[in-house]
Symmetry: C2
């Protein structure tokens, strides 16, 4: 078991939850996959690896992992399904998606710190979060 897994197990137990084979399988897959994955993709990939898991369980696992703050849910524009990626140990970032082939690339930047303060001043909202996504054509699809 990876070191991060021990931390995660603790996090689960502190909220009266258990570390199970399926949760571990989902975690390991998310940890080693670069692209953000949908629930269906996670399910399919695990089946290919001969891990027995139901799509419902994938959804429930993702829900728990999100609640523990271990993963991030992405609702990319016009994708019609959510994608998920590990949060632990990674810096806050955004994405760009190719509208042709669907490839998603990480953008290791966030230009919104100053803007957030400006928005709080202007709107009197307390800003909690933001989503930012770019779409376009990747080098291969141009």
């Amino acid at each position: 078991m990876l070191a991060s897994q021990t931390v995660i197990k603790k996090g689960l137990q502190e909220t009266g939850r258990r570390m199970t084979k399926t949760r571990q399988a989902v975690l390991v897959l998310l940890e080693r996959t670069r692209q953000p994955l949908s629930a269906a993709e996670i399910c399919d990939q695990l089946h290919e690896e001969k891990v027995s898991i139901d799509l419902v369980t994938v959804y429930r696992t993702l829900h728990v992992l999100k609640e523990l703050g271990l993963i991030v849910q992405l609702d990319l524009h016009q994708e019609g399904q959510s994608r998920y990626e590990m949060k632990a140990g990674r810096q806050h970032h955004h994405h760009i998606r190719c509208q042709d082939c669907g490839r998603i690339v990480d953008l290791l930047l966030c230009p919104l710190k100053k803007i957030t303060k400006l928005i709080e001043q202007r709107t009197q909202f307390i800003v909690d979060d933001h989503t930012l996504e770019f779409t376009g054509l990747c080098p291969k699809c141009q």
Copy 2:
């Protein structure tokens, strides 16, 4: 009929389409509504105004209006449904949504011009579009 409606009618006819009562009703509603509306909300509102329209027709109308570039489709994070707002005559902008009451406020700014160029250099993508949304607590819900 509003002046903008004539322009829209022309746009429809140029693509072999027709200006109908229902399309006009959806347009008029979108033109006078400040909040971005969902298809269901448009349908309900029109029913309250004694306009007979089916939800399917609303979806199809929105599809056409979007294709003509007259409206913008918003897929707000975790809303589970798209919202639409008029594009014609309005400057490009983004939104902030209250996570408590759901209120959506326009942000009349876009801080992404320079960033877009940087991203194109770094990723070799040709950037076509972006989505940006903030969430937080509005003054009333704090």
